[in-house]
């Protein structure tokens, strides 16, 4: 039913989507995790309570979260060109994907940390822990199951974003689905793309659940 060349095409597309999802997820966390921690720590009643910092960070995060992703890609093209050298292809897509995911991740991290009982932070302070030690030894390990769940949510969102990016030349399953399905109207390829995307999302969710459970001793 599917020729070898089509299978090769789909295989390449799947690889590109997985690559974009996980690599941009990684960079998203590199950007979003510290911001999330900062948001949490500067909240009222927390370790480094600071209303001004919290407000400014919070507003920035909200601004970036409210830009529709497809607009963000276009808006960031000059910036992407400076960093990657081109605005086309999956490496170029990593830039808007990471930047788009970061504020989302920051909020999720903030929420994960809020779930850590306040008494534990207090105990760490009573033991003489520095703020950095509290983050390392108390906040992040205690929030780990919740952080893993949120990472799964983020990756699933990124699968969707990367497909959107496909329409603007990012490659991956999104681009195949768009070209063959929307422009060429090949129902078979479009549906295979759909099934692959659904399968990918299911696998991420399943793995996330398992991993979160493994680390959850609450």
């Amino acid at each position: 039913m599917l020729s070898d060349s089509v299978i090769a095409l789909l295989g390449k597309g799947l690889w590109e989507t997985v690559y974009m999802t996980f690599v941009s997820g990684f960079f998203g966390f590199v950007l979003g995790l510290p911001v999330g921690i900062l948001l949490f720590l500067t909240r009222k009643g927390q370790l480094l309570e600071n209303a001004a910092y919290y407000r400014v960070t919070s507003i920035l995060v909200n601004i970036f979260r409210s830009i529709p992703f497809i607009i963000l890609i276009v808006w960031m093209i000059p910036f992407t060109r400076v960093i990657i050298g081109t605005s086309i292809g999956m490496n170029a897509a990593l830039v808007p994907l990471s930047v788009g995911a970061a504020p989302f991740i920051a909020r999720l991290v903030e929420n994960s940390l809020l779930e850590v009982p306040h008494g534990l932070i207090e105990t760490a302070r009573a033991l003489g822990a520095s703020p950095l030690q509290i983050i390392q030894k108390v906040l992040l390990p205690e929030a780990l199951p919740s952080l893993i769940n949120n990472a799964a949510i983020t990756l699933i969102t990124l699968v969707g974003y990367s497909a959107m990016g496909g329409a603007l030349g990012a490659g991956g399953l999104g681009q195949i689905g768009y070209q063959y399905g929307y422009i060429g109207y090949d129902a078979v390829i479009m549906n295979v793309v759909l099934v692959l995307l659904v399968a990918l999302v299911f696998i991420i969710q399943f793995a996330g659940d398992r991993l979160a459970k493994k680390f959850d001793h609450r």
Binding site: G119, L120, E122, T123, R125, L127, A129, V138, E142, H217
Partner: protein, 342 residues
């Protein structure tokens, strides 16, 4: 060793402000076990948390071993906190760490070597009797076991002071006693000074040498246990000492009449004081006034030569004799209330 001097703390919420501590002063000697008792909302939790500055007082000083804690930088303060252990009502163990790693936490903060951590943690787990639980996670432990782990963690840095914030309030009576026993042991064997807060007189009676009573943010009284207990004029102290309500047995309660009648005998609740011993009181009733009685309930506490507590007596003499007995109580300033007639 510890001097709390004129500490005040006010909490501000939106439009209201609440004075949790009002000019509180208290000193604690080395090797002592001091209990602070108060009702919930009295400010006792705030007070104990100001000692290691988890709560920064608005004014006043905390002087420990000659250093004024309120003047320390946050780094110096973290260093001082390492030598002050603290345990909490809800144990506050890290769910992500095993029992062993929970105890090891305070040592890790100081970058102690692995071998040293191993040695120290195993020794501590032995002290609290949980060697066999080293690799379990807190969720599989009972409340008492969790508090033992918390105690081991608090002791890891060889503290000179242990702060106990309602440490037994979430535990059942038997577990409470075993934890208190452990605290007493630690105090005696390791010479660690203990400052605890509680709302239970039982806890105070079981372990404390010195007591302070706090109410509405003010320290009402402080002294040795018997000094505090004999200060019966203070209404708050009285409430704590005679907190047990003498419930009348249900069978009797059904038959209880408000007014005296022929054939009914008075049911009297008596509050004992240091003036007269319970043995003397009962033998006077029986031998001197020849009044038969039923002792329905007794809650007696001996402290030195004196005894305190309550009795529920059902006098079964004639009307005149019973009146004499009540006269005798009044003469000896023994508070008595007639609960009814049955």
């Amino acid at each position: 060793m510890i001097e709390i001097k004129n500490i005040s703390k006010t909490f501000h919420q939106k439009k209201q402000s609440f004075k949790a501590l009002d000019q509180v002063s208290l000193s604690v000697e080395k090797g002592d076990i001091v209990g602070i008792i108060g009702f919930s909302g009295a400010g006792k939790s705030t007070l104990i948390r100001t000692v290691n500055l988890l709560e920064r007082p608005d004014e006043g000083q905390i002087i420990i071993n000659g250093r004024d804690f309120t003047k320390l930088s946050s780094k110096q303060l973290a260093g001082e906190r390492k030598k002050i252990g603290m345990i909490f009502q809800h144990f506050n163990l890290l769910s992500s760490r095993t029992v062993f790693d929970n105890v090891a936490l305070s040592l890790e903060l100081d970058h102690v070597s692995k071998d040293e951590i191993n040695r120290k943690v195993n020794e501590l787990l032995k002290i609290v009797g949980l060697e066999d639980k080293a690799n379990d996670y807190p969720k599989s432990l009972s409340g008492g076991q969790k508090q033992r782990v918390a105690i081991a963690r608090a002791l890891a840095n060889d503290p000179y002071l242990l702060l106990c914030d309602e440490a037994t309030s979430a535990l059942d009576p038997a577990t409470t006693q075993s934890i208190l026993q452990l605290l007493r042991d630690i105090n005696q064997r390791l010479g660690i000074t203990i400052l605890l807060i509680t709302h239970e007189m039982e806890v105070i009676k079981a372990v404390c040498n010195h007591v302070a009573v706090i109410d509405k943010g003010k320290l009402l009284a402080k002294g040795t246990l018997s000094e505090i207990i004999s200060d019966k004029k203070n209404p708050v102290i009285r409430q704590f000492i005679n907190s047990d309500i003498m419930t009348i047995p249900q069978e009797l309660n059904k038959k209880l009449q408000k007014e005296p009648q022929d054939g009914l005998f008075p049911l009297i609740e008596i509050e004992l004081n240091e003036n007269i011993s319970v043995e003397k009181l009962l033998s006077t009733l029986y031998d001197q006034y020849k009044i038969p009685y039923k002792l329905l309930k007794a809650d007696v506490e001996y402290l030195g030569d004196a005894n305190f507590g309550k009795l529920l007596l059902h006098l079964q003499g004639g009307y005149e004799e019973n009146q004499k007995a009540i006269y005798y109580f009044n003469q000896n300033k023994i508070q008595n209330t007639v609960k009814g007639y049955a």
